[in-house]
Amino acid sequence: MTKDNGTISKQKFMEELRRYQKGSVTRRHFLGVTGLGMATAVLGTAIPGLRPRPAFAAGDIGDRVILATWPNYHDEMNFEAFTEATGAHVQVNVFGSNEEMLAKLQAGGSGWDVFVPTNYTITTYVGEDLIIPLDTSKLPNYDAGSFEQRFSDAGSVDGQLYAVPKNWGTTGFAVNTSKLDGAPTPTTWKEFWDLTMEGYSGRTMVHDYQLTTIGNALKYFGYSFNSVDEKELADAEKLLLDAKPHLFAISSDYQPPMRNGDAWMTMCWTGDGKQMNVDMPEIAYVLGTEGGELWSDYYAIPKGAPHMDAAYALIDFLLNPEVNAKEVLAHGYPSADARTNALLPKELLEDPILYPAADLLNALEFGAAATLTDPNRAELLARFKSA
């Protein structure tokens, strides 16, 4: 961490610390893999008595709002500002996977006011009657027209709005190019798997997540990322079983081994790819030309939310372009909101990792609800992991 002169400024130190914190915990499945997804991280805002009094008499929306979200996915300063403005404290519960969120809501009594589902889960929540339709009159900052449609349309089911877009991203792979011995950087999933079984044997990681691991194996054969076709899944399974002895790990916590050199290549989400690339330029983020996953996260309100008004107030607050721009700067995931993007620096908007070229982006697929809930894919992953 130290520079040549051996000392670093306090500000620099904080930046490095922040980066380290980001790097050490990946966005998603880390908590899921450890089974500790139910663990609750409570920010300092949880103890009302310790917070400064709001500048004006608020209290209309209650004293708190409970948010279920992903790790490292918000700017804490924004929550403080929200409390300042409304008197409601934001209590944050962190989760590791959509499945866990779903499991908790299915079990009932989650106590959440706002949560952050991913596009392909929303129809399931609606079908299971677990979330409520949103009243846009309570979300003045929501401007449907300003969102890029492909990242916002999953929020509506049968013409009814249930969720509003938060951020989006892609699932590609990160590769440490310094280990390629001068060979060109791979650009396809086919190369990803072939390299895994040859030159990078013992150095590749895949997600501990059926959607992406099976999806990207299907891509080897040019099948759909979302395929539930038996024959196609059989092909993917064979590939996975062949590759398994060559894998470094099946884990979604891939940043630490990538950074310390134990792993050379891994399936990877946008934000992680960006973070690693910034610190170690030799780690490239690649979107397979065959395609892969494109995803979009949303804000939604579960049925029976205990602080309904506060839930609307928080979503509306976070949809404010100025607030949202701060969020993007803090976590590094792109926003689909044109108003927000107008406030972001040019370098960020032109970053090829965050905003891939149109042809790469167009080849990607959104995960499908059927893929998520398909029992055959779940069993396939279990066979792969236990093989």
Binding site: A103, Q106, D208, A249, S251, P256, D262, P375
Partner: protein
């Protein structure tokens, strides 16, 4: 109050606790295991043996568990016994307490964090780098069954050390003198007196570690890189990922049965081996 009433009162708290925290959940799992998975996951009431019929799909997980749990138990025993012996028999009382505390100290930190530390020790920049510097190249330790075994031994060592320590500590040291007096060499004294008399501690330690290992999922997930798959990992995936509660319940019930069978066979074996008056006790 009658004697019977007093007894009932004494047992009531534990009884209620067991009923609410053990019997009822187990009953729920039992009932669920005959149900079906809902379209979006979860549980749909039914009566089918389909989940049990599907058990072979998790055979590898059971196999891995049934190999690595006993192996881990034995490895922990092999390392814990000399340590416990040193603490109880050889260590001067002046140091004993401090050393015992050192054995417990790791328990003050979450096993998650402790296992993470091992990622760095066994990772490419840890031990393998050290081995490379003395000319042993290309050793992969992390994400192997060996790493899982190391994690298991590390994580469960105190559970093994303490019962053995207790049984060795309460061992009457005059028995060792008696044995020497009767012409037995120190090694034979250990084999004929110390070891048999510490069997209750060994049995207790092994049982504690073995039972907990049968349900272990964290260490294989972290140090096995997801490639070493225990029944515990299968259960985590079934409940938290694919949300197949019915099948998960069937796997859980099977694990309970396997554990009961293994443990009762083990108890029989131990009681025959030890021939002790004191039965195998949990410390």
């Amino acid at each position: 109050m009658t004697e019977r009433g007093r007894k009932a009162l004494l047992l009531a708290p534990a009884g209620i606790w067991l009923l609410v925290m053990l019997a009822l959940p187990l009953l729920v799992v039992f009932v669920f295991s005959f149900g079906e998975r809902g379209a979006a996951g979860g549980y749909v009431p039914a009566f089918t043996l389909e989940q049990y019929a599907n058990l072979p799909a998790r055979w590898t997980a059971f196999k891995n568990t049934l190999i690595l749990a006993p192996l881990g138990t034995i490895a922990a025993l092999v390392i814990a016994y000399p340590l416990a012996y040193f603490l109880a028999v050889r260590c001067s009382p002046k140091w004993r307490t401090s050393l015992l505390i050192l054995v417990i100290v790791p328990f003050w930190t979450s096993i998650l964090i402790r296992s993470y530390a091992w990622i760095f020790i066994l990772g490419g920049r840890g031990l393998p780098a050290l081995l490379e510097s003395i000319g042993i190249d290309d050793i992969r330790l992390i994400n192997t069954p060996f790493a899982v075994l190391v994690g298991i031994v590390y994580g469960y060592l105190p559970l093994m050390v303490f019962p053995i320590f207790v049984s060795l500590d309460k061992l009457d040291k005059r028995l060792l003198e008696a044995s020497a007096d009767l012409g037995s060499t120190p090694w034979r004294t250990f084999r004929q007196v110390t070891l048999p008399l510490s069997v209750p501690g060994i049995a207790t330690g092994c049982m504690l570690v073995f039972i907990l290992l049968m349900g272990e999922f964290l260490i294989p997930a972290i140090l096995g890189g997801g490639k070493v798959f225990f029944v515990g990992n299968a259960l985590v995936d079934l409940f938290l990922q694919s949300r197949n509660w019915a099948y998960g319940s069937a796997v859980a019930m099977t694990l309970v049965v396997v554990m009961l069978v293994t443990v009762s066979i083990y108890m029989k074996f131990i009681s025959r081996l030890g021939g002790q008056r004191e039965d195998v006790s949990l410390m």
